[in-house]
Subunit: 347 residues, 4 copies
Amino acid sequence: MITVGIIGATGYTGMELVRILLKHPEAVLAYASSRKWSGQAISDVMPHLHNARDLVLAGFDAQEAVSAAELFFVCLPHGESMNISADLYGRGKKVIDLSADFRFRDPVVFRKWYGEHTQPELLSEAVYGLPELYREEIGGATLIANPGCYPVSVILALIPLLEEGLVSLDSIIADSKSGVSGAGREPKPNLHFPEVYSDFSAYSIAGTHRHIGEMEQELGRISKVDVKLTFTPHLLPVSRGILTCIYADPSDYLDEGSLVELFRERYSAEPFVTVRDLDGSLPGLKEVCGTNQCILAPRYDERTGKVVVISVLDNLVKGAAGLAVQNMNLMFGFTEDMGLNDLPLYP
Amino acid sequence: MITVGIIGATGYTGMELVRILLKHPEAVLAYASSRKWSGQAISDVMPHLHNARDLVLAGFDAQEAVSAAELFFVCLPHGESMNISADLYGRGKKVIDLSADFRFRDPVVFRKWYGEHTQPELLSEAVYGLPELYREEIGGATLIANPGCYPVSVILALIPLLEEGLVSLDSIIADSKSGVSGAGREPKPNLHFPEVYSDFSAYSIAGTHRHIGEMEQELGRISKVDVKLTFTPHLLPVSRGILTCIYADPSDYLDEGSLVELFRERYSAEPFVTVRDLDGSLPGLKEVCGTNQCILAPRYDERTGKVVVISVLDNLVKGAAGLAVQNMNLMFGFTEDMGLNDLPLYP
Amino acid sequence: MITVGIIGATGYTGMELVRILLKHPEAVLAYASSRKWSGQAISDVMPHLHNARDLVLAGFDAQEAVSAAELFFVCLPHGESMNISADLYGRGKKVIDLSADFRFRDPVVFRKWYGEHTQPELLSEAVYGLPELYREEIGGATLIANPGCYPVSVILALIPLLEEGLVSLDSIIADSKSGVSGAGREPKPNLHFPEVYSDFSAYSIAGTHRHIGEMEQELGRISKVDVKLTFTPHLLPVSRGILTCIYADPSDYLDEGSLVELFRERYSAEPFVTVRDLDGSLPGLKEVCGTNQCILAPRYDERTGKVVVISVLDNLVKGAAGLAVQNMNLMFGFTEDMGLNDLPLYP
Amino acid sequence: MITVGIIGATGYTGMELVRILLKHPEAVLAYASSRKWSGQAISDVMPHLHNARDLVLAGFDAQEAVSAAELFFVCLPHGESMNISADLYGRGKKVIDLSADFRFRDPVVFRKWYGEHTQPELLSEAVYGLPELYREEIGGATLIANPGCYPVSVILALIPLLEEGLVSLDSIIADSKSGVSGAGREPKPNLHFPEVYSDFSAYSIAGTHRHIGEMEQELGRISKVDVKLTFTPHLLPVSRGILTCIYADPSDYLDEGSLVELFRERYSAEPFVTVRDLDGSLPGLKEVCGTNQCILAPRYDERTGKVVVISVLDNLVKGAAGLAVQNMNLMFGFTEDMGLNDLPLYP
């Protein structure tokens, strides 16, 4: 049994961590902080977590935190997260940072998308927490940069193609559609219920979304050369889930059966990536919501010679809190899927 | 005043035609048929059309129909529509066929996507009912093939690019997302409310959707050479609206300002195509639902050198019934926007 | 032609007034104010109103306002609205106040539910703007208190029963369900999209909702004795519409056919109240959304001896902006339904 | 470990049973039948249950069934269910019937609401599967009639009031709102996605819904005298969940604090009924969806002297499959909440 803490437990990612950790057989949620609701029981702030009555939210205090837990999930806004994560790390704790703050290797690239970094020396310490790429490093890591939700959706769909050099690197497009919880719990005019309901729109298109930097870094590391990605995010009128459709030009002749086979082989040992066969139905969000699964359906359009890959996951689970717990399991030598085997609700 | 009839008035497209025609100042809805509800008043079958109490649905009878009206909107399933449209046309009536049956010039191409055509000689008579391309021909036509909803969404977003030869013709991708009414009124397991709610998925991807043939025909006519289109349709958990995101590689250096300007000029005289400026917000479905507008936002991703165009419209209005009435207005010399100036509901 | 102004044009009620007035044949929207967006064109703030490009939102200035228009719709929060309405009224203008500020005859009752009134002397001047009760007074009024959305839904369902003394006055229950736009345009944590989506809950139950005072006042005026109402509002996960289910004990033996007949007679001359027959389907929100209609289905449960009345309307139209325009039509002698004959979108 | 079977595994209730049983530590799902999909793996028919790859759906065969399992969940339409349940019961198996077929003690009452009963002699054998009323009998039962979803929602909200004789028995009203999955998986015109989305309506009102008979039977057994219930069901545009608002007149003076205290005491030992305090928020559907919890908020309207109780549960879990597994746990002496401790997803 290990003791864990959540810094920023009352945002959507923090709440989802609470939900998952409350039933994890090897982790005890020993500390949870919230600026807004400190002093209240978790089950008062989040009545759906009715069995969390005993845990009282704290105002963050580093001293108190480090004496309570050995691993921390830091779920604060970028810019703020880096300082608290650095502090906890400096006090000898293991840290999984769910913000963007430690996802970049290069502080110059970080600055371009997010602004100045106050802990640039830690960037080389952090391991990018995507087990499908860095399982071994995660196992030995002390500071994990948990990936962004769009990046997980996009990168998992591209790993087999880039590792095998199958597609032209300047042809890649990711057309993503995300549920509203991906935008966080803070109410905003454009996320007010009557505005989003029945609506659908794109935003931050044509090279302006911050996740591009993170995705290009990782795609570039796989490919060993720079990759430029065209990325179009959309806001879906649902609470959870990301569906990405990837387009890319094959470098050479491709056969759809071999394409699927390539994906199957690459992910055959992965507990949380499923490849849908050619005779299987295309995956929808409800097959993954509430679970840590990412389902991929690689296809080939013979008429136009384009590779098309559909990727679905739950932005709050495989795209955030579930992935963080998967990383925790690896860091502590637990079975990788421990506490992460929920099935989705249907319908 | 003209008299009009609707064959198949109780599907979603037929119902939308009734709604629009009931307030058209120059058209009287004199005949409406329905296999399923013949003998009932329209307002009994569609209680929301409470002011249509007088009109009783007929079982289709060609003799009775032609004596009642001078123009017919035929809203039947493809394969079935062609025979009734041909019959009405043969009896000297003007016909706007809203099925796919007369959208193809070449019966061989029709067969490839839909099966055998029983009236191939009429294919050359029919005018493709997209005023933004064929306004003049529509004005003189007797048989109109009303375009499909996806094709309108995609073609309007591509006209300026293809007419000017600005993009590479083998690079075009259309990633479309449609509300469920686009799939018709017939209940189906996969369109049952609990299945679609909270879900989102792609379908008929990688070159298998029937609208591809129609889109490639029209894009090819604009470009004067064959065009191959990569098309990915998705099912949005809303009732109405299509948003398409177009991707294409420019043939030459492009400047975003000039791109928008090109679109503005091309559509400056169009009553139902609006181009969103660079400082305008990206359009969402609720800005067009219930209206005959198509809003386009052409953008350029400088980082990757891709043209990105967002296109939104209401699949039942500009993508079907509203466009059909626009065609009717042109055929009879009415003001083109007559009866089509509804504003959208918001929120 | 008259000139009208809207004070507070960018809340949901104000925006709906803009939408309706833009196509009213006898009213010109000559003035519209918004604290937040003054200086911007209406069509920039509300891109769906694309044909309102010429009208620029003003910061409210009484002098400027009164020189621009002869009638004002005041759509401000209660407490604030009373002062501006009083000012405009004092300057000789006709005013339709859409807040709660002038709905009460008795300042003591107002204080109980809303707080101190700064213009108590005007309460007796104001006419409660429900044409189905006060058509004649509205015709001659200078200051209209436009009813609340729940009160319209509840009162219209009870008028025939109370006028005829058919039900026991201490037995009346109204179980209402409202779309989220009824809570206004201001983003709030509990109205954030991911919170409301897929959810449903009651709020302000057991005698605590402010609309109770307004409803009891009007029900009491009809009955000539005090009426106490049990009222339970719920938040529906949709944008628009209120459905109320009324329960009441009949004072005497009742026959369902006569009950429906009573409702039909009472409302036979009303342009915006429809009574659904026993063989008609029960009305749903989509039959009224976007329209000024209220549909009533009075029924009698023989097994238990309860009267049950279903009432549906669009909270922003018949429950706010549409009703206000209906009142305007009466004040200026226009046809009562002028500009108010939109049909609902379906599906 | 016990072996269990599901007859009718591919309706919504059957699918939910599969989901719950797949992770039950003491039950092995050894048999599952489906008329429509026999011969296919469960995970092919329900891809969200990706870990059920081994279980192949059978066409129902009684011989084969009884040799495979010791307990059967029968999830067939009423009328059909009774014969198969009787058959399995006759062959010495334990049966939990999830249809309405064994919920009535009196075949005459059954006939009134559902038609002729072919196994009337079994009605007295069956135990009504509501542990909050019949825990002991369920423990010793061989044939369980699993309650309807609305009845669970309504009865749990009334037990404390009726057991203590606190309310007038002819005053009780239940105004219920249910998600669409309660209507089953069969596609129907009125449950087609575009019809229900954004809509809300009542149905089967004024004493016509079949669940009334079942509710009155149980309420009468608690009260020892006949109870007549006014029941109004509504269709909510969400997939899951029932919220009921109960109204009743107290027989005597009531105090809100004591009312809540009464509920708390009555349910203090119940694992799946939670009573919300006066200072707690009113419960919403998302607090219970996916869980076996029913949350009750009893309140008292002092102004009108009405008791108001809000009740929420998930119609497919506490209203069907979860309750059935709770009954199974009792029948086999497992911990009552075994396999039933999922937390809800939020948001």
